[in-house]
Symmetry: D3
Subunit: 340 residues, 6 copies
């Protein structure tokens, strides 16, 4: 029951139709108008929020949520397309207070804003292909960055979205970033089942594009020979769980982003052991504890310019939404790293 | 854990800000731009889909899905805000075939199209109040009706959305409709806990506005004295479950909409007994079976100009999404009534 | 994981102790003091509630909840011991309104009061045996009936409690009653696995004791040869589900209780098909719908002097507590039959 | 997560191996030895059980369970491969008594025996293809029928198994049977996604083979144009749910099997509404109630020579196994029809 | 669906009634009689159990369970009111043996006794306000302590109960105690949403009252600025999870209670990471492992005079009751610390 | 709902029958034929697989799965009888890749083969007693070991199966092995509730038989006085969780099997904390993390000649089958230790 089946079928409809009676030109004009309207909606919200923040004053950087409900580049389950609204709900849910662990006040509007979701399903349902869709994601990210002091904190969606997001961040800032990538998998395969935009290939695309200087992968415990070879080829620093007890000290005192445009943090919720985050598509036992992740994030030194939290799959969560709370706390603590 | 808590908090932010340093004018201009962009996005998708349908030809009326993910006017739980994407997923899910029970082919693009969701949460999060929000819903419905041969089939959301939807349908067609309303509750209270837009009051607003000639309520089994008095006041035909075995024959041979602008069908998923539809906010035992509902719908005579399926709450569904399948089949069978 | 395992073990402790060093007399005195204190607590609550009702005036009969959290006489699962607080929660839960289907206002304190639970586990844990425990249940019921205008509406617990409850009702009123008994099973076996107080034997005890004139059993679909023979022996009117479509008309126009002390209604939640009430210990497909039960109850003529709702097992309910809502609605509609 | 993925992958291993270094002959000899051993195991158990029954005497026909844990011919989910042990557990589970509704004693060994499962996964894992696998199923059924007075009552598995089972029954008895087929779907498509053994095609195979004279399909509510055309082509009597209220009387007084070799009953658990049987792969609302099914079965006149209960999917059942109990009760009541 | 909604509504009834026709005096007399009966029931059980223990001889201190099913002072969910019977069930459940990890035999009646629950809901339902209710809790604790060698081990309920319990312990012993408090939250706010008895304020009340000399808080990871300031104001030793890896050694070798009346241990189940204890109202990732908690408890030196296990919420537990088993093991290991 | 209830009842049937009319001889002959056929089926599959492996060449040792679906020797729940097919499904499930953590390729047929399940239930259902059944398990293991290069990796079933498995391994190899036993319980009681084949006694049987030289037990946290005494009596090295932080270093550098016939690894899934493996019969908080287990296994030096993974109970697993994935990963990583 893929989350985007409707879109998938419509693409066929649209193709069939256009093959039959509608000119390609007319179709593409229609699609472009839909895409433009989508970006306009994000732009107007970013503008409004940023104006308000600037009126308040005293903010240097402020985390701004942008949802990318895209699940169709997953190899196994497509539920992450449903994640953004569930994460937002959990962020503001009354079961916890409004402070982060180190004392940032989320109730202060200068700390966290939101520009809503890129209308991914609506665009796909108009027959727009993946190349162009990935560009829409990139454009959306840039639209947010356009508005000072907003910095994009992206809610996935599957991990395929990290490629267009990091590309946009790097292009907008004018150079590569350092990436801290927490994940059970390296997501660095050349292509997965022929899909170059697969959620298992995003970091191959990022490294090929030169959007990152250093790439540190932490939490890895499902990796093939090709995954290790690609890691070497791109100079990736892969920290596997097998040796985490030895690497822990180093990982709890990272310093990143100097000499480049800053730090990007990409958190795949499955970096956590499934005991801590059961609501993921790929259950891979032997992962990090939630505290392990916080220890790494809290102690990281560097200017965090953007980030993402991806691969939370609400269709696999417990009935009480434990993983939604986990994803939300990750977003909250990342917000504390970004906003200042 | 209300589905729209984020929005709720932001409204306060926005008010605080505007009270402090931002002029009301500037804020309203920003909100208007966001609303305009939202409507533009729906318009562009409706245009594109309708153009394609018209190019195909031979269609007199075609059901067009419009999601309204609004849950904050509910008195108990707000999960219906998450329903539209789950219903879409279930409509196209591979577990069933593409024919309706009476043989309509949903794979034929002339039968069913989709213009996506009204970005309710994004608009609320900009501080837009309910009056204006309800207008946005109405405008969205009219935008769809603008494009021949599209007819709106709205995915809720809670039942408060039926008011702006029916209002739009009636205003656009230029006169009242007949309404078949399947529900456990009459939703006709003057106001609920002071909220005139409450999901328990939508049909009071509809009747006051003169948007309906006849209103038939079927499945009723949770009704107070006020509910029965309001029913009498507005001339509502209330069929309570207590007497369903006697009313069944009449309800399985309805003829509606003659002399007015057509028939509107509003299906609250909780019209069904919770055995058949556990994923609802208000579990009220003693309801209709799914077959009872189909027998009423299949045998209804009349020109169905629009409809809605509301109050499915995915946060209360079974782990297999049984109620999502139920909501989806309701949408499929309503599509068969609308499209021709 | 029996709900009363703690009690079971303590009984052994107490026996061992008393065998060893404590005189039987001393032990029994202690037990008696505990039992007296238990009954005093119920009496004081009944008195206070009844005083308030009488001060209000105009009440002829008022349903009064009495919980009997006893599960250890069940043959399969003992979860019904946890039911009473869950049913109370569901009765007052904000998801439904305060009117019964026929218009009784539960918010009116004259309609429904509550004297809490018999402290079954506490008493058993002091080493009190079943004979004496059953007497405590009977005494508790009589204590409630002592206070005009209270009529006991008992929340089980398993079905073994109907014996001491009906016995108390009959003894207090001074003669037999007619019983409407809704159940998947006849519960009329001479003894089950040697336990004469078994939940499968309560109606054998009732008939032997002469506490009932007529006993109508409806919903029966799990019955052995012995069950049918016992039925004949005691003159029970057994309506099996196999012939329900033929018996329906008769059962929807019952007139009971004339010439005796009134009508007692005992509802085993498993009379319903498990589709409507999954939270029961004995899943027996092929039962009544919730509407079938309401049709029988609403149309019953007779003076209902007391009743019970038993065998709801919260440990088998859905995560949303659907069966708790079902049990609560049964209690609400029975309240409407009793109070006047 | 297909229930037979292991087998699927091994088939590839075996093919690759055999392509490489192992002669086809050697491989086929090995496979044949495995198949022979499998059939021997069933034969020995059938022999032992039948000997014991014959020693007891007085039995004319006795239902004998045969599990066929095959799920790989399903189009959507493959969980039915896990069903047979779960159904057995539920049949003997202590939560219900040992009598069927009409008084057959299942504790009497003359009424119900069991020869275990065909080792489907083990055989497939040796690289055996579907043609041959279907023959193994047929041979297993014949092996049971070989032993008087055993009559096969087959536990699926998906619906694809009905073809080899009915074929075996008909071939063994020397002529066609009449089939009562309860299902949401007609399963009569020529082939499904190219698979002629698909669970959606079994009854096309049966009718083509001449194994049935009359085929009555009851509960149908998901059927395409092709399904109806195939129905006509083969002279199938299709009773759709749309008209069930009209057909009910006729279906509750069926007389079948006269002039042919007897009656075969095939019950797809999804003939029931998902409210009554949520544990199925294809949730199709609007089905029969459990009582509807029992009314049809109890009133059927005819000599039932064999039957099956298929498509129960334990991976979609409720946590309490409600559908397992439903499947088990179907088996119990079918046993009562067969044994005499 | 608050666990005490019934009580809440009744309070209104009682107030309305008393306003109208019943004298305040009469009402208060009735309430007092109910409270007296409640305390008598606890006293009689404590007496009986203590007599038996003393007859056995050789016991210096013995843990005695006292349930306090109070959930209405919670800010978010009120399910902890249902916890005590579930914890008792799990303590004696057959899935584990009767020894604690360090070898205490729970089957020895000298090690663990039980005086049942304070009838919180029954008392509230009579219109008794929180001030008086808290006194009833205190009196119940003192009643247990009256009977040598019983020491109270309290089963919550929400954390608001720790205030009246500690107060009673301190008053009864005649001086302050040292408190080891395991929790995700400091529960030391001056008042929460205006409620001075809130479960978020209990330790503010305790410190103000001078009932504790040292207060050590371990597991803290959701704390606001006010929480830290209150901590300083009262001289609380707050150990936050952020620094747990550094504090671990110190916390695994605590020595408490010297020079005061002993040690009190208060365990909020949410001190554990939700992976280990999902059944809590406030899911706060990043907590202690179960082994972390045991290491702290096993190595603690001091005379433990009383304790509590609070905030287990059965309505959020897994279907198998994992958190019930966790709460039960906490009770078992605390029992081993107390009894000697 | 015991997993083998059917079998249990049949045993009674068979006994009754044989007592009555069938000679013991005839019955035993029938049983022997069934047992022979069962072993033949395993032998033929082992032969075929081993032939193929030998044809491929270059394999010294290859893990070969053998399922033993036996649950009736459990003291609490019997669900482990359903485990083998669920573990197989999870091993090959598409959610993870085919490499083990240290790079073994499971897609290489030389690394992992499968001979299916011992038909335990079928044999028991023929009235075969436990003594003989245990011999069948032993014979099955030897049958696998007969075929070079296969080494048995057994899928339980409850822990009682380790006794016949280890016995077979030791007898076949001609001497004792060293055993690494990961478990929450020592399983070394003389007998449990009179059952010498209990899952709580298997290691007592193994030590008595001299099948092991060293026995290391890791993860122990539920142990009685008898358990510790039996440990001493047999010279078992018991590592309790209470001291795991101190023992960790030693356990992460084990060297076993020198001077004996090799190493046997027995993994009871409940060695893990229930947070990591909720799907077990005995929830015992305070266990190992999944990474702890992998660290011990990865660093173990020794020739692993066979192993088992037992006590996974699918009836207690999460709806997503998290524990199935955990059991499968244990099997995968053990495969990597065995195959070379």
């Amino acid at each position: 029951m893929g989350g985007v089946a409707a879109g998938t079928r419509w693409i066929h409809h649209v193709r069939r139709l256009s093959a039959a009676k509608v000119s390609t030109d007319a179709l593409e004009r229609g699609q472009s108008r839909v895409i433009d309207a989508s970006l306009t909606l994000i732009r107007e919200r970013a503008k409004l929020k940023a104006e308000l923040l600037r009126a308040l004053g005293g903010v240097k950087a402020s985390a701004c949520l942008l949802g990318v409900p895209l699940g169709h580049n997953s190899s196994f389950l497509q539920g992450p397309a449903f994640a953004p609204p569930r994460i937002r709900e959990a962020i503001w849910c009354g079961s916890t207070n409004s402070s982060t662990e180190e004392g940032k006040e989320l109730n202060d509007p200068r700390v966290l804003t939101d520009v809503g979701d890129v209308p991914i399903q609506e665009i796909r349902d108009c027959g727009v292909e993946d190349d162009r869709l990935m560009n829409v994601v990139s454009e959306s990210v840039k639209t947010v960055m356009e508005e000072d002091p907003l910095r994009p904190l992206v809610l996935g969606g599957d991990h395929s979205i990290s490629y267009p997001v990091v590309r946009a961040v790097s292009e907008k800032l004018g150079g590569p970033v350092d990436i801290l990538h927490l994940d059970a998998h390296p997501d660095i395969y050349d292509a997965f089942e022929g899909n170059i935009y697969s959620h298992a290939s995003s970091f191959a695309r990022i490294m090929e594009g030169g959007y990152a200087r250093r790439l540190l992968q932490v939490g890895i415990r499902s990796i093939t020979k090709e995954g290790r070879e690609q890691g070497k080829r791109f100079g990736v620093e892969q920290y596997e769980m097998r040796t985490f007890s030895k690497d822990r000290e180093k990982l709890e005192s990272l310093k990143l982003g100097e000499g480049v445009k800053g730090v990007y943090i990409s958190v795949d919720v499955d970096c956590l052991d499934p005991a801590f985050a059961p609501g993921v598509s790929h259950i891979e036992p032997g992962g990090l504890s939630f505290r392990d992740v916080l220890n790494i994030l809290h102690n990281l030194q560097g200017d965090v310019v953007a980030g993402d939290v991806v691969e939370f799959n609400p269709q696999r969560d417990t009935v009480d939404g434990m993983t939604a709370m986990v994803a939300a706390k990750l977003v909250r603590e990342l917000t504390a790293k970004i906003s200042k």
